[in-house]
Point group: C2
Chain length 220, copies 2
DNA sequence: GTCTATACCACGATAGAC
DNA sequence: GTCTATCGTGGTATAGAC
């Protein structure tokens, strides 16, 4: 390409290292070395580290957002004038992550891990950037879920949407074998398998009865 | 106390700053200043930063583990020889977090945020420490869930346990107003409220039908 | 037990040769 | 467009006075 390929190599290396170690713990020197480029040359392509980080996410999130919105549009057109069904909305939200995972040119499982971790990222600037650039997509899904579940109060829908994103993020962010040592047994947990398991869990959770008769005790 | 109180002040300040900024982004200088102690004096109490981090978590996780196990024991005794019911097991897992949130001497909401973030922490050493010291508790809960849901294949139970931990972690780790700008409306999302919402979501998710007829597509 | 002072190093970022 | 050399800052950690 016209721009040189070291730019892409640097983005690839940064993405991989960010996923493995976190953004804060990854230095530009390390990225440069891993990309077989000189750390100094990063500053030809980007002004600051924050700018590089932004582009690492943008390169993957823009196609992901587009794919999600496109599937949601299709589902809503198909069922119009009725709202899209719960399963369809969730499919449009979760399915594209499988699409990401299956193509190494779209980031693959490595980017999913990075994305999962980033949902909980304490870095304020990074969070602000993600919200600004990609918050609108999630808001569209929240609204679609509200239409699919008209009887669920807004606060509860909101909470459940959070739980769903959490389940998704945590699952993607963890390594294949959980870092919390749940079970020693060997399990072939591919991204595809996990996301397929996730669907019925989320559908049931969203459709759960809204009243919580559960007397959750604070004290023993 | 005999040991001096600067030790506790340092632990308090570290806990708060870790929750706000993340472990990697918080320096010992900053902790010392916030604790009204000299950064250098941290090295009297701990050998390295990693040791301090370990104690920040230990101070809160040991009571949390004990409370969780104690409630699970009680539930299992009450229903013996039958296994504890799904709701009871989940209550023993989630309820103690509410107990944590309600007492500032147990960390309060601040520690819950830190804990939520840490589930996705990229720091390998920290993760190894948490697994070593507290993995046994989660394994006990996984086993109790398996007994409560004898018909669910092990892989699926495992995946759903992951989803549950993810929903919990993400919810706790996020600020009250989601960082992803879902809805602009004001919501009073206390820790107590959110955890109460979580219970029916998890119960329904775990009890969901196991077969996934969903044809999750990878391509558009 | 807590402080000051400081060593040492890696970081992000810049300047300028090529 | 990429490299080397280097700056200033701020990180962890240590030594030693009090």
């Amino acid at each position: 390409m016209a721009r040189s390929d070291s730019r892409e190599r640097i983005l690839d290396a940064a993405e991989r290292l960010f996923a493995e170690q976190g953004v804060a713990a990854t230095s530009l020197r390390e990225i440069g070395t891993n990309a077989q480029a000189n750390p100094g040359s990063i500053y030809f392509h980007w002004k600051t580290k924050a700018d590089l980080v932004r582009d690492v996410f943008r390169r993957r999130l823009e196609p992901l957002d587009a794919e999600r919105v496109s599937r949601l549009d299709a589902a809503e057109r198909a069922s119009a004038p009725d709202p899209a069904r719960l399963e369809e909305v969730l499919e449009a939200l979760v399915g594209p992550m499988l699409w990401i995972a299956s193509g190494s040119d779209r980031g693959g499982p490595g980017f999913l891990r990075l994305l999962g971790r980033t949902y909980n990222e304490p870095d304020r600037d990074l969070v602000r950037m993600l919200r600004r650039d990609h918050g609108a997509t999630l808001e569209r899904f929240r609204a679609a879920l509200a239409r699919a579940l008209p009887d669920l109060p807004e606060e509860q829908l909101f909470a459940r949407f959070h739980f769903a994103l959490g389940a998704l993020a945590y699952t993607l962010g963890s390594e294949a074998s959980s870092h919390l040592a749940l079970g020693r047994r060997r399990r072939p947990v591919s991204g595809r398998d996990v996301l397929r398991e996730l669907m019925p869990f989320l559908v049931a959770g969203f459709a759960a009865p809204k009243a919580s008769s559960s007397d959750l005790r604070a004290s023993a």
